[in-house]
Homo-oligomer: 339 residues x 2
DNA sequence: ACCCTTACCGGCATCGTTTTCATGTCAGTA
DNA sequence: TACTGACATGAAAACGATGCCGGTAAGGGT
């Protein structure tokens, strides 16, 4: 690692003071045209690059955003892409840290980013996270913070998320409309907000349609295809077997799909299946899977925009909340009635 | 953003000098036990965190690795996960920048990271990248650099990649062994190293088996399912239509698969298909797709390890190269002969 | 009484840059 | 001549931490 050219080198070479060089480089007033020219020429020649660390130290600002996410699956990778795009445009660099769905790692990442002195945080919590001290600490230090996707409902922080209740409502209503009678839900981890919201939308829609809720038809499991497979097998072996499953993620839906096929059931005739996220893979499977589109890229961009707004404005934004409306994409796994 | 507690605050409160406080906090010699205790107690109370920027400026070291990748698809996300894991363990934070397969963005990212003063670079080039001045600049500045996955062959830099020739060889030989006679290849972008390596392995294997190469059966296209679909359609409409396709990525294979199905051809009976990467989705499709496993997570970890080695050792490592051996995973799309 | 060691601590420079304040020069004006 | 102001530049503080070097005081040995 070679020593970089500094402002001092230029100053020395031109018998100027560092202050004058600094001013010349930034086109400030009070510098004669000749010195300005000379400075710029030499800077060019020596490939001078201002040292960002020194600037950051001085201004107490790093132009860096800490992003903490539970994993890098399709949805989050897409969101990160959206965040990245907007942040880059605005001159910010993004530090992405994966908590790997682990509470401990999430705390570690928070600490790391905190003393890397990022200008702010964009966070989506892990499925293990149930206490929020580390998040609150960010707030206490008055560091800008935006939550996205997996938000914390009862916390006074700007947040952006999907209308998960509505998404579940769309999915459930669709299954009902297609004539499925005993609809089960494959929910995610029990303490996770998005999981509960989608469950709530499901239950609410059943009620609206005056369909009795069978508690055995609600199964929680981790966001993992294999667990979903096991859970679905369990559902299919019940006495009052369901005739449709609403899985709150496509990964879960795929696990369920394998179990359904193994049981010799045909979709959509014998059994209905709806997923969530609208991952590209849903369109490719046989049968293709009906799913809820959540506009991940847009959510990412909106999140970064809100973050930037928070950085630049001084007003309190802690009650700001953006909720994105989902859209149901109907495919073979649940389309029983042709239109 | 609140002012953080500094070493000066502690010094002032305890009527000590900053140097003493600094030493006390780091358990250095020459500090009495009482002052040490007092300093640590107060530091704890005030939630003192050393300012990393100041340290970085002083030591000229940021403990940050700049990672530049072309996208965040399954393979690269997995590799990044591997890099992240090893880096975190070693006390480094990773800055991931996506070039989005754009040469311009790659250069921009390099510039950004360069003047963010990262301690080094881990890079996988975009498919557009044909000149390497920006990469060479990193080398010129003597900043540690490791290439991975999509490496630059004729450049004197430590690199880690898959044995792409061997992977293609495995895939092609398998198709030949299964009795396919006219095998086409869906190659990636023409200037991309991995694309050409896989093509080379393909051609070489045909030659070894004394099979004539039909130049029309080599088609290049971007890593994009839709382009692959179009390319496959083209292949299928030829006079001497191929009876198998080796696609150099699973995404391409999926695009081809759709075209094959549309043409009314049954896999593996009428047509053979092999992909590359062994993405989880290959196992889920109907038929499931034979693919070449490339151990992305391991490659990621190995890359980070090599990077750390480079940082810590002083010797020249520019000729170091690790080549990972791939493995063929045979599935329905090409298994014609039961064993 | 003198010197030397040892333990403990403070001063200062340093990293690279910005910024405020001060300084010096020269021309113009009363 | 003396003052004013513009103009160009320099000196120094500041950001937060480290580390070298030097200083002081206490204590022991002669």
């Amino acid at each position: 690692m070679e020593r970089q050219t500094t402002i001092k080198d230029i100053a020395l070479a031109l018998r100027l003071s560092t202050s004058t060089v600094s001013r010349a480089l930034r086109d400030a007033a009070d510098v004669s045209i000749e010195t300005r020219k000379a400075v710029k020429a030499l800077a060019e020649e020596l490939d001078y690059q201002p040292n960002k660390l020194a600037l950051s130290l001085l201004k107490n600002q790093t132009n860096t955003i800490g992003v903490i996410i539970p994993n890098l699956d399709y949805v989050l990778a897409t969101m990160v892409k959206g965040i990245d795009e907007v942040a880059l445009e605005a001159g910010y660099t993004v530090m992405v840290c994966q908590s790997d769905e682990s509470f401990g790692r999430e705390i570690l990442n928070t600490k790391r980013l905190l003393d890397s002195l990022v200008d702010g945080f964009i966070v989506s919590v892990s499925s293990e996270t149930m206490v929020y001290e580390h998040i609150k600490k960010i707030q206490t230090k008055k560091i800008p913070l935006v939550l996205f996707d997996r938000v914390i409902n009862n916390m006074n922080v700007p947040k952006i998320s999907l209308d998960n209740v509505e998404g579940a409502r769309l999915a459930t209503q669709h299954l009902i409309d297609q004539g499925y009678k005993r609809i089960a839900i494959l929910a995610g981890p029990e303490n996770l907000g998005i999981s509960n919201d989608r469950k709530a939308g499901f239950i609410q829609t059943l009620k609206q349609n005056k369909i009795a809720l069978d508690k055995n038809h609600i199964i929680h499991c981790d966001f993992n295809q294999d667990y979903a497979y096991i859970a679905a097998k369990e559902l299919l072996s019940m006495n009052k077997r369901p005739d449709a499953i609403f899985a709150i993620s496509d990964r879960l839906a795929i696990g369920a799909m394998i179990a359904i096929k193994e049981a010799g059931l045909k979709m959509p005739k014998d059994f209905g299946l709806v997923g969530f996220n609208n991952e590209p893979v849903t369109k490719l499977l046989t049968p293709s899977i009906t799913s809820v589109e959540m506009f991940a890229f847009d959510i990412g961009k909106a999140t970064a925009k809100m973050f930037l707004e928070m950085i630049h404005s001084n007003e309190d934004m802690s009650d700001k909340e953006i909720i994105i409306k989902p859209k149901l994409v109907i495919r073979e796994s649940s389309r029983r009635i042709s239109e």
